[in-house]
Symmetry: C2
């Protein structure tokens, strides 16, 4: 039987989990790429903390790995925005390797980075490969929402709310999320900030594309989350006193010419002891539909969706194909190669 050959592009926390899942689903890992000198030259299994030797050494030259290994697909877990992601996706396309990334902007980059996306789409088509952004957002913020919107006859508004624990993502992201700022510092930052596109904006663009609704006006509102008591930031090794900032909430909204409004509120902040990630959406119209995922397993579900999407991406027509266009995600109890259509 045919087997799928994959390259791990980036070997951090997420691709460590993804590596294990791919091996458990019968995928051959034929290369691994990282930049850090602490990782390069070591066995992928060791770097990923899998307790096994994979026989695959981590290398630092993505062009060599992509050019030499006849991989079917690269799993990219190295950056968030298209300005950084562009070169990685371009490289995969030029070497004729399909790619799936958990880069947030890649979920639906056609409006926030139109020129780069169009160029990647063109290169992918020229080289007969598919480029896709997936991850947690694939199901929980796009396809689940699109599916439930599909049960409505008329939609007046869609409102989503998600939370994530900033302390799970290291000191850099905690600083980006303004943990430990005073309210005054936060307000100053917000006035002056030259922020990249919010993730929520890409989610709204994906939902608009999925339904064919026509955007009228976008708005973004950003509000600090204020500690109501002293809160501990483990990432920053810092106690944030009551009254200071423990993160912020982005509220992205869009009105449409059809009269439907979409709103997505995403809070990234320190969590209290008993808090868990939440995903909740309300569709108001005829009928009203409400869906709740309590205690969503954000990190694991990011990796498992990347893995379950591998056959979809290989099967898809060439181009930059966003997840609302892929087939509805399915459980993969069998080796992934069994789900290839050609």
């Amino acid at each position: 039987m045919r087997r799928i050959r994959a390259v791990m592009y980036g070997v951090g926390a997420m691709n460590a989990i993804t590596t294990r899942m791919l091996l458990e689903k019968g995928v051959d890992i034929v290369g691994a790429v990282a930049r850090s000198s602490e990782k390069v030259g070591r066995d992928l299994g060791e770097v990923a903390g899998l307790g096994i030797t994979t026989g695959v050494l981590v290398e630092d030259d993505p062009d060599r790995v992509l050019g030499e290994r006849s991989a079917d697909i690269a799993l990219i877990a190295v950056s968030s925005y298209m300005t950084d992601q562009y070169e990685h996706l371009r490289r995969c396309a030029m070497h004729g390797v399909n790619a799936i990334t958990l880069s947030e902007e890649s979920l639906y980059p056609w409006r926030t980075s139109p020129a780069m996306t169009a160029e990647l789409d063109h290169l992918a088509k020229q080289n007969g490969v598919t480029l896709t952004g997936s991850g947690f957002q694939d199901t929980f913020w796009v396809n689940l929402v699109g599916l439930l919107m599909g049960t409505a006859h008329r939609i007046d508004s869609v409102a989503g709310r998600a939370t994530w624990n900033v302390d799970e993502f290291g000191p850099e992201l905690s600083r980006d999320q303004r943990v430990g700022n005073t309210e005054q510092e936060f307000d100053q930052w917000l006035r002056d900030a030259d922020r990249p596109p919010t993730f929520g904006l890409n989610v709204l663009h994906a939902l608009l594309a999925d339904t064919g609704l026509t955007a009228a006006q976008f708005t973004l509102t950003t509000k600090p989350v204020i500690a109501s008591k002293s809160m501990r930031s483990n990432s920053l090794n810092l106690d944030v006193p009551a009254g200071d900032v423990i993160g912020f909430t982005d509220v992205d909204e869009v009105t449409t010419r059809e009269g439907t409004s979409l709103r997505f509120e995403m809070r990234g902040s320190l969590y209290d002891v008993d808090e868990a990630d939440v995903n909740e959406w309300r569709i108001d119209g005829e009928p009203d539909v409400h869906v709740i995922n309590p205690a969503v397993p954000t990190q694991l579900a990011t990796c498992s969706q990347m893995v379950n999407r591998v056959p979809d991406v290989i099967n898809a027509p060439p181009g930059f194909v966003t997840v609302e266009q892929l087939p509805r995600l399915r459980y993969r109890p069998h080796p992934l190669a069994q789900y290839l259509t050609a």
Copy 2:
């Protein structure tokens, strides 16, 4: 622009709502069929209680309506089981008219009525039309569950729970659901009953087909729901005393060779004052995923999904095509004809 031509096959409570929704989505209703002499000969808008005259008279001869009107699709809302549904679907196929039905067994009839389904599939292919069973179950019990199963790397068990209010469906169904029985009468009935396939069994078959899991053993457990206080049945004009039966719960379970078990618990009973329909699923594995639809709008969402599926059914390849094979359902803000691919 092309328009879609539809026949309302059955003009009861559900197709009355569906008629309105189709008209609001720019579909031409070109015929309506009913058996009751109270409906035949009257205007569809009047029979459906829409407060408008549609110019379409309700007729009693489905063969003439299907044969003469060049309809693209028939929306069938007249029976639950394949033994009754067969003749209606067969008739549509023979006249070259696509059909979508809310018949429960038609959701996935390949295992519970294999010969009839195979014959319908053959006739549909011969005549170039698609036959599909949709309704509430399409998203909430099949495609939503399949989608969330698709976010898991490994699934140990899937457990769903749904409830419906038996008092909303008239006296016949209340009697079928044993409302007003003593416990002894219920037990006697359960021992002797020659019951048709449970709806839960069709749901499990659809989920097995969706994931490629291989059934090992099916079990069905049926338990009476006992009134804890006196409860009113409006359908039967009856007060059920505490200790007597107000409905029952079917628990369908299947184990699979892959080790995943699926379980669906459906309770149809009288409701207490503050009860609403619930739909809740737990997927245990890696990771655990939990989804809740509180207060699901069962009746409206049955009709809206039938309507939103119309383009999918017309677009689908010929045959008996079950909903887990159709494209992921989408919201249809525009006239339905805009979503036709050919």
